[in-house]
């Protein structure tokens, strides 16, 4: 236990904990948006595109994570027209994932850089969190909740039904564009914390747990952020105590919470959820 408290005094550990705390404010709300827009495949595609961005960064000498954020942001914006229908994204995502990973491997091969540097980001390195990562997560921690508070009514309509939103004066295309760009940037920003492969721990799993507990969009967002804060801090502390990599520990803890929420008694499950699952 003494070692644990000694670890907490290290600047890298403190920076990582702060980054996880900031991430817990924005990323679970992004998870809520991912579920609401029904764009689960997009996050997979973004992980691959982030790798392509990192490869380009290694080739050009630019900050790899910055390149990943830009690549993801541009891809998110480009996907907006496809988000008009649920089927529009699924096929395109398969194509995008394959092209992105192939292009990333080709860029790494041509540039002659060590591919392991790029693939390290697939697994994350939370203790290597840099000031730039904290700034990005801090910006997201302000932007995402602010957008949510500012456009809550419009978001609730858009995530519920795109046509109802359009008929209610919601600028659906513009709002979808903003959301997809935010989703893409958030996923790229979360990669340093848990790695591309485990980014769901910070985004989707708290939102999935919150979906079982809340009756409204606002309730979901509040639950998701609350679960995110607890899981991120507790998971990180547990990883330090057990001397294990934080990424997998965070995923397992977040997964356990989502699973526990799933097994809550039926009376606590909102009726809309069972209704939607039958469609």
């Amino acid at each position: 236990m003494t070692e644990f408290f000694e670890l907490l005094e290290l600047a890298a550990v403190q920076r990582a904990a702060f980054a996880l705390l900031l991430g817990a404010v924005a990323l679970p709300i992004i998870g809520v948006v991912i579920i609401g827009l029904d764009i689960m495949p997009v996050r997979f595609a973004m992980m691959h595109i982030a790798l392509l961005g990192i490869a380009v960064g290694l080739l050009t000498g630019l900050d790899p994570l910055l390149c990943a954020v830009v690549a993801c942001g541009l891809s998110g914006a480009g996907l907006t027209p496809l988000a008009r229908s649920r089927s529009g994204l699924s096929g395109a995502m398969g194509l995008l994932m394959s092209l992105a990973i192939a292009a990333a491997l080709l860029v790494l091969s041509i540039s002659g850089v060590n591919a392991s540097a790029a693939f390290e980001l697939l697994w994350g390195s939370i203790l290597a969190t840099k000031t730039g990562d904290v700034v990005l997560l801090g910006a997201l921690a302000v932007l995402v909740p602010a957008l949510f508070a500012w456009r809550r009514g419009q978001l609730a309509l858009l995530l519920h039904d795109r046509e109802l939103a359009a008929c209610s004066g919601v600028p659906v295309n513009r709002l979808t564009l903003v959301l997809l760009v935010l989703v893409a940037i958030a996923i790229a920003g979360a990669i340093r914390l848990t790695g591309a492969l485990l980014v769901d721990a910070l985004t989707l799993l708290p939102a999935l747990a919150a979906r079982r507990l809340a009756q409204s969009l606002t309730g979901m967002a509040v639950w998701a952020v609350g679960i995110g804060v607890v899981v991120n801090l507790a998971g990180f502390a547990l990883a330090l105590l057990l001397d294990q990599p934080p990424g997998p520990v965070l995923v397992l803890l977040a997964g356990a919470v989502a699973l526990a929420a799933h097994f809550l008694p039926e009376r606590r499950t909102p009726a809309w959820q069972s209704a939607s699952s039958s469609h």
Partner: protein
């Protein structure tokens, strides 16, 4: 008693719509005067719903001229204005994947207070904090009707209603038929309900995508 109308005229000229290469609305032309009530009847799949959705711009593959208030919609801003001018009661009320409270649905019409008052009059005033998916079909239809009345209060000049009484009991059907007849807007209603048809000034029948006036 004469009701002062704030309705807008609707004009369709040579409107055709297709679903996946199959034409479901064929060369439909129709002039509806401001404040007029028009019933669209016909068999399932004859194109009634598609025609109403085309007026709202929800059916992308529509050709021909569609004017509301003597204006076509071409740009995104035009469509935003068009949708503000129209109160819409869809046939299948949004079965979205996400929770939406009844209060949020009512507020989306632009006049939350009026919509809440209408919801109370229609017997669903106590359900404001419930997610819409927890409502029965009839309750949901009443909530959408209350929202539409809010839209009218907010300035909509046309009501497009797609089978607005389909999920209601007999008493509810009669009440809604009377309510639609008293609205000071242009009404185009798809219906199989005689009480609603009887309160419309013009009745059309759609068959295989073609429209003809029957009364």
């Amino acid at each position: 008693m004469l009701v002062e109308t704030t309705g807008l005229p609707v004009r369709l000229a040579g409107v055709s719509c297709a679903h996946g290469g199959r034409t479901v609305v064929r060369d439909v032309s129709l002039d509806v005067a401001a404040g007029q009530r028009v019933a669209l009847t016909g068999t399932n799949g004859s194109g009634k719903t598609t025609l109403l959705r085309a007026v709202l711009g929800l059916h992308a593959a529509a050709r021909g001229v569609i004017e509301v208030g003597r204006r076509e919609a071409r740009t995104s801003a035009d469509w935003t204005r068009r949708r503000r001018e129209i109160a819409w009661i869809p046939q299948r009320q949004a079965a979205g994947r996400f929770p939406l409270l009844v209060d949020e649905l009512l507020a989306s019409g632009g006049a939350p207070e009026r919509a809440r008052a209408a919801a109370a009059e229609l017997g669903v005033g106590e359900l404001g904090r419930q997610p819409v998916h927890t409502l029965s079909g009839g309750q949901l239809q009443r909530a959408y009707l209350a929202r539409a009345l809010g839209c009218v209060e907010a300035g909509a000049g046309v009501l497009l209603a797609d089978e607005p009484t389909a999920a209601l009991d007999f008493e509810g059907q009669a009440a809604v038929a009377g309510l639609l007849a008293g609205l000071p807007v242009t009404v185009m209603v798809v219906t199989h309900d005689r009480a609603v048809v009887q309160r419309c000034e013009r009745v059309f029948e759609m068959a295989a995508g073609a429209l003809r006036e029957i009364t």
